[in-house]
Amino acid sequence: MRDLWRAVAQWAAQFWADLKTSTDAGVLSVARFLGLLYGPIDARLPIAEAFRKALGYRLAPHVSWRHALGGIAYLLFILLVLTGVLLSVHYRPSVQEAYPSIQHIVSEVTLGWMMRDLHVWAANLVVLAVLAHMARVFFDAAYKPPRETSWLVGVGLLVLVLAFGATGTLLPWDQGAYWIVSEALNGVAGVPLVGGVAVGMLRGDPIVSGATLSRFFAVHVIVLPWFAFALLVFHFTMVRRHGIAPPTHPAPGGGGETGRRFFPNHLLRSFSVTAVVCALMITLAVFWPRPVGDPANPAQAPDALVATWVVVDVSRALTHYLGAWGFVGFTLLGLSLALLPLFDRGPARDLRRRPAVAALGATFFLGFILLWIVGSRLRSRPPGLTFERPVPAHQVGARAP
């Protein structure tokens, strides 16, 4: 009996120790995920001390507000995850139910309209935030060794953000969503060599249909999040490992000054940014809600397509003014910037000493903003809807004007 009691006590102690370890590991992994921790985990160190050690460090003295852009992009991502999960509770991804479920969310679910409009606005602004963050990194030459990995992973995250948006555009299943995606897929089909095959797999049907909706939904809520979380952990770990890039113009004195403490000073500043960004997002959602269009109707194209996602505007401006090759060209320009750290490895950080790179970067980032403005003003008719009827030969010329 006593042996049994001892065995139970031993097992309980073991269980408690296991639980404690795994909880510590869990808490620590969350801390690592948030970018608060970096380095090997000392299992013997009490967690409170570990946090004190991790949080007590000081930031580089040249860290300023423009370094907040990456954090804002992450904040918008968190907003997207939270609102996305809440939306997925009420959204039903089928041809029959998608549109009514959006109406249900907007008009019947408590604060459902806010979830949806925050999701839409964050989806737009996260693209701009990521691009602004990338432009900051680019012009600060922060992608140079040893931080190439951070840059490449960041580019991967940009691609994911674009993929999230592209798949999310279809989900409302209204006329705008349906025809924008139809037009976009037709555009992709025009891409030389790979376009046709890619569209065949994405669409799953000769036209955008329930098969497309299922595919886009699965990719949007199951496939992409896994990649996004993995890349985010990777990105933050790299940021902690290599630290913030040194200033482009180092102070002549060479240090001496100390930066802000991470805790609580920096976190308080981050908290202020978070509060203002959240309030701004809600303001945008209240004043400019995304209208619910007419339900998707494959048999009837709308008079004008109104895009609600910045990337669609940019792509449309590209294909409208420069054609399919313009789209490919701009994508290649973006890709060349993405791969730049593999080639541009010199020590020069000052913009004036790397004019070619600066010109490339300016072309892409300013071009993107310009195309966005132009594209948001374009009103296009969907393709393939003019049915030209053959006119009997003797009737040609006799037709009414």
Binding site: M114, L268, A275, A279, I282, V292, G293, P392, A400
Partner: protein, 414 residues
Amino acid sequence: MRLVLALAAAAAVLPLGAADAQQREGPSVEGLADTTYGCVACHADKRTAFVLGVHAERGIKCHDCHGGDPSAFALPAAHRGGFVGAPSKIATVALCGSCHANPDRMRQYGLPTGQVAEFRTSRHGRLLLSGHDLSAPTCTDCHDAHTILRPDDARSTVYPANIPTTCARCHEDKRLMAKYGLPTDQVERFRKSAHGVALFQEQNFAAPTCVGCHGSHSALPPTVAEIANVCDRCHRLVGQAFDRGPHARAARTGKLAGCLGCHSNHDTERVPPDRITATCTRCHAAGTRALALGAEIQRSALQATEDLRAADSALHRLTLAGVQTGDARFRYQTALTAYLQIGETQHSLDLERLGDLSRRVRSISRDLRGAAEVAEERQWEHKLLLVPVWFLALASVALAWLTLRALEGRTRKA
């Protein structure tokens, strides 16, 4: 090496080209492709036109209509043996009728046999057969002599969309029509009419062409007393309403040209709600009771149009606001039905029924507008949420900055 390649390429292409040429040859009709058939030795052009038509498909040959001896290849022999040659206009009617007026021949094709009898009653037929006026058309003038196509063949001269052009070949000829004192602007006016727009622009073949009102083989303008009946064939509900009203009496006694009194014949123009009174003044003098009634009808129609437009806009606003609109759409359909009934009921001049219908439109429109306003008000209420949101945000920022200043002061002191 290059020569070999070129030869190989030519060898690969040649059979393809040959197959293509064979396909372009057109339908090969047994008998007519036959080199023992004599007529085509001289009349190859007629053969080319004829094989496109429906008669070649049915195995009809040249000599079935033209007589002669198709086994002969030289002239005196070929044109012997009951040779008809090109039949005269009058003979053509009898020639076509020899098969087409025979129920035993036509039964198998499901074709009517009354065309020749109808043609005799038409203006065309009377001019040609009784008046021996050779300017009047015979069968082949509308159907072509050799390339006779089915009416549902888009190349056919009697295909619905082609009929106005076929009629216009003569009826737009000013010199020819002057002989009969007929105007030549019918087709031009028809193109602009509701019927012409439906036919030519909307490709709606339910819309009548010339033959829809005048008849095809029995073509004749309807008399004044007949007009209401002609329009009534399609506009049944309007016709019934018209029969209930006072205008029907005037039409029966010949005082009013039926429907044409307001809508004219080839223009068949709509009378929009704001033109009702103006139309009444064509017959009714100012200050009469009839004109007051017209003004009342116009007011009611205009009001209903306005109400329906408001309902449509409310429905759109409801959609934009994300409200489930199934019920609203159903109610809008009800309003739309009532609105269309107003269009019909106008023709009976029945003010009571008109009032009923426009009240129905108005009541639904008011409900929908109310629902849209409620939805928009709810969106406005969302703005109130901004007060606590910004209060919390600014308070947090202020708190954070106060804490930061206190912290930095402490650090400086230390």
